[in-house]
Subunit: 390 residues, 4 copies
């Protein structure tokens, strides 16, 4: 007798199929499989190829979304879909074609375009999901995190670690769009989520539009940490709420200049990159999401690499050619694409018809690497010209 | 233009439904939703209740599997299903009724009964999935880990951290069954898996049946670590390959005795518990799986607790009553059950008709807690009498 | 028979003295003590008050050195003492009056004024001692660390973690003085030191005088870490070789402004402070030395605090009154003073005869706190008005 | 004007001496040096050879103390010196001949013989100094740590982390001696010490003489940690208060047996060794002291090694030949010796006139290595036949 309700139909369905490592298909085997189904059991030998592959075989597919399409649909949603309590945010998520239409860019990562109309407010809430915003274009929205208004402008990266109260308000007469990244799929799969509604309206003082947030004034100086105990973050994740484009841009330019001077400084020739880090720990800016910015100089190209874990990229500027698994795309400003686990990945900046047409390409990237490192599941390998591991 | 092949049908399906936080259902909204589908986009406002619940709402269900049924089916499989290259192991996994018939006990954990006939050999392989064996009954199989034969006997816990070569051989004339625990679902969902085939046959020297493995002789002394560099584990996870029942049993008995002497020592009155740890770090025995053994003394009962993350329990001995979410079961030796994330859980040992009928209950437990702690997503709360968080 | 050479005189000298916890002084006891001396033994009971006091009783004394005196003597040394191989550096160290004339500012810390004449070069070497430079006045010297020339200007803090090659050259026609801090006493006492001579002359390329060092261009952006593997430091300690005054000054001003706006940000009212940190770890800038900068606003005063471990302070700007143990000093720009372990310490900024005379005081501080924290020996307590622990 | 009292004599004494790296000795230089003395300053160039040597030049000397002499003097002290409040303990410390007669075995470590007469009690106290006991011979004393009586027998190692209350009582009619190890010199030099007197008399319940302490019943099972929150240590250092000789002896025998079977297991041929570790962390048993036990098999010999940091060894059993720096000693049961920082060290077990005379040698060792590792100052090198670094 099982503990299942009588008459309930088991969700387990097993089919006896001949093959290597499979038992002979006999009436006795069929009986056994019916017994398994009744008792909610699944034998390893029918599943092992799927569950324990020789290397990651991602269900997610490499896929590209064009910014112009996303933006147009988001603007259309701006007219039709209100922002308020219940729906909470006017955010439209990438749904990887390999993941059954779920709002998952990859098995662990969420990526969306969020859109706020002039004068609109997104109500306050908090959740355990770790989040960030990255601004591709426009400005005028302030995100208010724990009562601290933070300006959002092109190129800015704004982390939002889990369980911090936050709201957004558009202080201008123009709509504004940006990219949201979260670990919603990971927390959905592991079932870790908590969510709490905050105030419907933030206070007048929180609606101010300061040039610099208090978090930047406390934590935005390189290598200088405030001693004040209340300046230390109570929750995991970076206490610095904005990483400004001017800094990122100059850091990348410096790396390329140092390379030219003959002192290295780049990941590989013509490939500058920074990681956004938590100034209080030097570690990843969010416990479950790694965020980086890569610049591939004119005429440069990255070595094809495979990594465990998945990434979402956004072309911030320039254009070039991207190869992800068996896909190759010409990409340009605003395009978003996904690289699944262990798929070989490389980028080439725009060659141009003439030398003066050539352009660098700037790529914003986020991934689930901190999860793999924390669980000691991370691996990296160079991929050969045909994508073979070398 | 999207990058999808022309004529391909989008996996995204959106339905406009009126409701709190939802936009008005108009032809324009329907148009917008068709645009989303075409571009592989999903709006947050149609999904937020599922993706971002107020607290974890596990898809997995509390469920109980009876040992007698598992064992009978495993014995039947022993007659019909060969063990060898391809199928690799005669392991039969618990399939949680809430998880669509997949071989997943919980969203992150795999639990199976494995069965080896007299004289049989399970061929060598290795994989990144972290694994362990726990012996409910019988003996006679040696698991050979990195060339070190390790005896398996009732009550023994045998961790098997990822990427170690391992094979099993039954050195006796009796079949033997045991429980396998792995993080197969977690690695499947995050897409981290690697697998490699080893030798079909291990050497004669590896078929010996020593009382104690080399790992126990190097790492099995309390608080004493070998200095020899090659004794240090190269891979994450415990270098101690067997935790013997005699030790576990005595540790639990000691805790209850110290409690009686008036000095605490137990988790709560009548509730002794140990965690299996890596002697080289003091941390969890496996990077993704926490393993514990709990003894609830006669007449004792645990406080109902909720935790993020899921657990699988096995009744090692005794009997009692278990409450998991809204389920209550009488459980006895060998029964296996699952407690999903954030479901209140408590155990009561067998009261018995008379005092002398009362019995303690011994529970072996494994969970995904190390994942939640590493990602800083762990939460615990006492649950009130009706299962409310207090 | 002891292993001492015959006739050698034992360094142990014991005196039998009556007192609490002391044995009766008898001829037998005198015999025993002579036996101890012969065998190189010392009984605890004659020493316990000195070795195991109720709380730290520092041998070091609070002491103040006036900058004008240091500077004058350093200038005089500039005329008389050459800089070159052997003597290595024209550095003149503070000798705490309680430490027997040794060149130790405190039991663990070294503090010195270093002086370089126009055009002079201090030859290259490296050592395990962790070091830093802090510039009180002047400019024109470049310190060349691992081949990277780093400018030194008023207010700049320049860490120099152990075992990095370094040389200095004065590129101007003016002499320049600065403050050196090292853990020489700690490494002397624990006997951990290694030292290696480098090139007598650095190359022409290393004599350039860039505005920004390569280390600043790689590591000087807040929250941005270079991905290039060779940018990661090979030795412990910060890869950022200069922390510029403009940043420190603005960070302190921001903290005081945030306090005025009503949002905290300071350690206590009117007391802003930053810690110099390693951007790769968020931890202390050097493994054995903590470095901080404190600003006490006009009219403000710090609460008296005791801490295990010792500190050296330098008045960078302004003036005020300092209390260290039983000493109280009026201090002004350039003055250096020492606070021994567990001595109560507080600062008051200059009150001024009129409000407009009042001034803030800026204090540069370094301490051995990382040692105490690593060994888990750190304690802090508020001290009462009479310096009592409250 | 200096801050020194007028007329006070400066402890600084400088002598102008000609030599490499030294300034010319002129009247002006003498004037300068007098100025330094007056201002409590010491120039680096007169000190650098002593303070910053090319490698550690220990002030401590290799030295050997014979157990028979220590024991005889301790017994004599048993007759003459009372144990009680004030003197606290009848402990007699090794005074390294290079350390000016101080009760320091090495610059950081204290080693003493402690002696307790029949029926005697050593009163309760606690201190931040980390301590342990190691029993060379005899039994009958129970050390009571935090109210938990712990038996002491030959070969047992008993750690005593800082700030735990402890007392000892001799429950037999025989005197007992044992070895105490502490970090008294380290805490004296860094000035970190706190000390508190406890009860003069412990309770009757604490005078019981159980075979096993509660700490062993909670933490003495290999790889099993109690879940009870109050079983977790509140202070740094191991919660396991006794490491029994039977375990240590068997662990060493197992390593040598595994080596014979062809599987390594030893540090080098014939050299078995274990480190005592904190089962809650896998790290060193005490934050500032590393403790190990080494067995050199018959006919075996260790490679000469240099390490930063100092060690104290005790010959627990057997005999052999020890080389420490330029000293070579024949050592036997009970002998204690010191190896200073960076001095080459090796051991050879007793060869014997005939093969059957040959004996293994068992060495108990403690060192300050955790300090060097925490501060990242640790280095190790093989020393050549003449003690040169190779």
């Amino acid at each position: 007798m099982t503990s299942s309700a009588p008459g309930s139909r088991s969700p387990v369905r097993l089919q006896a199929v001949p093959g290597a490592g499979q038992p002979d298909v006999t009436p006795a085997l069929e009986d056994l499989y019916r017994g398994f189904e009744k008792e909610l059991l699944v034998p390893l030998w029918t599943q092992i190829g799927d569950l324990m592959p020789l290397h990651p075989q991602s269900r997610a597919l490499p896929h590209l979304w064009r910014w112009e399409n996303l933006r147009a649909l988001a603007a259309q949603a701006g007219e039709l879909v209100p922002v308020g309590r219940g729906g909470e945010r006017r955010a439209i998520a990438l749904a990887n074609p390999g993941l059954e239409g779920r709002a998952f860019a990859t098995p662990t990562l969420w990526a969306a375009i969020q859109y706020l109309m002039p004068g609109e407010n997104a109500p306050e809430h908090r959740h355990t999901q770790h989040a960030f915003r990255f601004v591709l274009e426009g400005e005028g929205v302030w995100t208010v995190v724990g009562g601290d208004p933070v300006a959002m402008r092109r190129g800015d990266f704004l982390p939002q670690a889990g369980w911090n109260w936050h709201a957004h308000h558009n202080a201008t007469s123009e709509p504004m769009a940006w990219i949201d990244g979260l670990d919603i799929p990971l927390q959905y799969l592991t079932e870790a989520q908590f969510f709490e509604f905050g105030r419907d309206e933030i206070s007048g003082a929180e609606r101010t539009t300061p040039e610099r947030s208090r978090s930047e004034r406390l934590w935005g100086y390189p290598g200088l940490s405030p001693l004040a105990p209340q300046a230390r973050p109570a929750t995991p994740g970076s206490p610095l709420l904005a990483y400004r484009w001017e800094q990122t841009d100059r850091a990348l330019a410096d790396q390329l200049a140092i390379e030219k001077e003959g002192f290295g400084g780049t990941v590989e020739p013509g490939h500058a990159a920074v990681r956004y880090t938590d100034p209080a720990t030097g570690g990843d800016v969010l416990p479950t999401i790694r965020v980086e910015f890569h610049r591939i100089a004119r005429g440069a190209e990255t070595a094809p690499v495979r990594e465990t874990g998945s990434s979402v990229y956004c072309v911030f500027d320039g254009s070039g050619t991207v190869t992800a698994g068996e896909q190759t795309w010409s990409v340009t400003r605003g395009d978003l694409f996904v690289v699944p686990s262990w798929q070989p990945f490389s980028v080439r900046s725009e060659a141009g018809a003439t030398d003066s047409d050539a352009r660098a390409i700037d790529l914003f990237r986020f991934s689930d690497s901190p999860v793999f490192e924390a669980l000691r599941l991370n691996r990296t390998a160079l991929a050969g010209p045909e994508g073979n591991v070398t």
